[in-house]
């Protein structure tokens, strides 16, 4: 009896540990996330805006229907996908290439890795402001560099055709290293036997990369690609700082469109509908990740 008593609280905790341990996190996430999600969904079904006086009434799916009628929405979806495909595509190709180059032991490898890390950890707002200046067509470094290389100058952020590639370049600068580091880590974990076998068979370096390394890396690359896609779809800081969606609407991605709707036009109902659309897009991406994890037993 006397031995049991002090144990009681401990036992109670132990019995319910399944609940107690994740409970605070669950409650926190519920308050901070589920409430906003439900709220966003609710608002997307109302006509709440600040323009017509602020009286809120329920209008069902009207916001979604209007969204489908708005050419700016389709433009935004198109640009979001364009930006994501372009940025992530180049990042993967370039990232894998750099990883293959760096995949050996050498003096200063850690320094090179550190240099590659810096763009990722540097504050995006500060970076965006600096790149805005680089891209200035007359006094910026971008065109100065092109001139040195003997290439014609570009309008960068000032041209509807160039603005997405120019923004993607910043994203590429920031995130290619992540792909490189992921692939480097993946390369380190590959089984040595396959390489030795190929080497014994007299395969060339290129052949080994093409037929052994890359296929083995495929799951790693795929996951890295999708992780990047999720973030690229949501890119906000850089576009907000550098163009706020311009010129015209040539860089207005979904996130910026929703932002404009809510914080510049104060049409909260319509904005919420756009956010639900963006969320669906990102969620679809994530479902693919989960499915891949399963498929590749990761």
């Amino acid at each position: 009896m006397s031995a049991k008593k002090p144990l009681r609280v401990g036992q109670l905790i132990e019995k319910n540990i399944k609940w107690l341990f994740p409970l605070p996190t669950g409650v926190f996430i519920f308050l901070m996330m589920i409430f906003p999600v439900l709220y966003t969904f609710y608002v997307s079904l109302t006509d709440w805006d600040m323009i017509s006086g602020g009286l809120i009434s329920f209008i069902g799916l009207d916001n979604y229907i209007n969204l489908l009628k708005d050419p700016r929405f389709f433009n935004a979806v198109k640009l979001t996908l364009y930006f994501t495909v372009l940025a992530v595509g180049v990042e993967v190709i370039l990232g894998v290439f750099i990883a293959l180059v760096l995949n050996r032991d050498f003096r200063g490898k850690n320094i090179v890795k550190l240099f590659l890390l810096l763009p990722m950890v540097a504050t995006p707002v500060a970076i965006g402001l600096a790149w805005t200046l680089f891209y200035e067509p007359t006094i910026g470094l971008g065109n100065y560099g092109l001139k040195l290389l003997g290439l014609p100058p570009s309008q960068w952020l000032g041209s509807k055709a160039m603005v997405i590639p120019a923004l993607a370049l910043v994203d590429i600068w920031e995130w290619t290293p992540m792909i490189t580091l992921i692939v480097l880590a993946g390369l380190a974990s590959l089984p040595q036997e396959s390489f030795e076998a190929a080497f014994v068979d007299g395969a060339s370096r290129f052949q080994i990369i093409r037929y052994v390394t890359l296929p083995l890396l495929r799951p790693t690359i795929l996951i890295a690609l999708i992780l990047r896609c999720i973030d690229a779809l949501k890119t906000f800081d850089i576009i907000y700082v550098m163009t706020t969606g311009g010129p015209g609407f040539a860089s207005e991605t979904l996130n910026i469109y929703a932002y404009n709707l809510s914080f510049n036009y104060f049409r909260f109902g319509a904005a919420s509908a756009a956010l639900v659309a963006l969320f669906t897009l990102v969620l679809a991406c994530n479902l693919i990740v989960l499915w891949m994890r399963k498929t590749y037993e990761m």
Binding site: T25, F35, V101, P124, V125, F134, S262
Partner: protein
């Protein structure tokens, strides 16, 4: 004799070929690396230039450095205060996320509560702006708008999922036998977690902590709406130099240096862990 000589020559020739190849390879590494650090170096130099020198074209590479930009960053704009604010928010949100996230990750790992894991991951997927107005209303109702608490809570929504997922992977990698032998000795589950599992989880915790700190440090969107004068963090404060009548590029660059430097120092110290954390989602182990 002759054979030996030719062999010797062949060896020398191959060696020099390897040497050239080696040099070429190093050159390539340098060419690859430069674009990634060049913009940061440019920001650093610009922080020591006057406005006219920054917008000079062609760019000035040699100039007389001035400390005026840093002077106005710290004297006129009180960046020391913003540095303090950013630190408070980043440290508190990280520590709290650890307190909440470590047991949660452990439980998800040991009791296979994967649904909860996915549920937490969704937080990472939500577009951030959809939180802003609901949060503001929520925090107003409980009178927390003017405080660090609101800001810290919002940053935790970034930090917590990160920590849970990093630690989940980490705990999955720790063999259960360790705890089981302790349990045989009469140790409770919570004690086993605190005394056995956590002490050997140092690397995982460092990874999670560093990343959570960095993400909070760099966060712009949440702080934009939830911070006020008393709690303004650095990424918002940099906009103090974008005023109605002029942009002081020198000051912006100096402020950028002030913001980025702590992140870089942290990265240098914990390089291994940062890499691990950032690459973890894709590579097991």
């Amino acid at each position: 004799m002759k054979e030996v000589a030719s062999r010797e020559m062949w060896r020398l020739k191959t060696e020099s070929r390897i040497k050239w190849k080696e040099i070429g390879w190093y050159l390539m590494v340098i060419i690859i690396t430069i674009p990634f650090i060049f913009p940061l170096i440019w920001i650093l130099t610009a922080a020591f230039k006057t406005q006219a020198q920054i917008i000079a074209s062609p760019p000035l590479w040699i100039f007389k450095p001035t400390l005026n930009n840093f002077k106005s960053v710290f004297m006129e704009q009180n960046f020391a205060r913003f540095l303090w604010n950013s630190s408070v928010v980043a440290v508190a949100s990280t520590v709290l996320s650890l307190l909440l996230g470590l047991p949660a990750a452990y439980s998800i790992s040991r009791y296979n509560q994967r649904a909860l894991g996915v549920f937490i991951l969704v937080a990472r997927l939500m577009p951030g702006i959809s939180f802003l107005i609901p949060w503001y209303i929520l925090f107003s109702k409980i009178r927390l708008v003017d405080t660090f608490t609101a800001l810290i809570a919002s940053h935790m929504l970034v930090g917590l999922p990160l920590i849970v997922w990093i630690m989940l992977n980490h705990f999955d990698g720790i063999p259960r036998e360790l705890e089981e032998s302790a349990r045989v000795d009469g140790c409770s589950i919570q004690n086993a977690f605190f005394r056995i599992v956590l002490p050997i989880s140092g690397p995982g915790i460092i990874t999670a902590t560093t990343l959570s700190f960095l993400f909070s440090w760099n966060n712009f969107m949440f702080s934009l709406v939830l911070s006020t004068n008393r709690t303004k963090t650095l990424p918002i404060a940099i906009y103090n130099f974008v005023s109605y009548a002029e942009v002081s590029w020198g000051n912006v660059m100096a402020a950028a240096v002030v913001i980025i430097t702590p992140a870089i120092i942290l990265t240098m110290i914990f390089q291994r862990y940062v890499i691990k954390g950032l690459t973890m989602g894709a590579v097991k182990g």
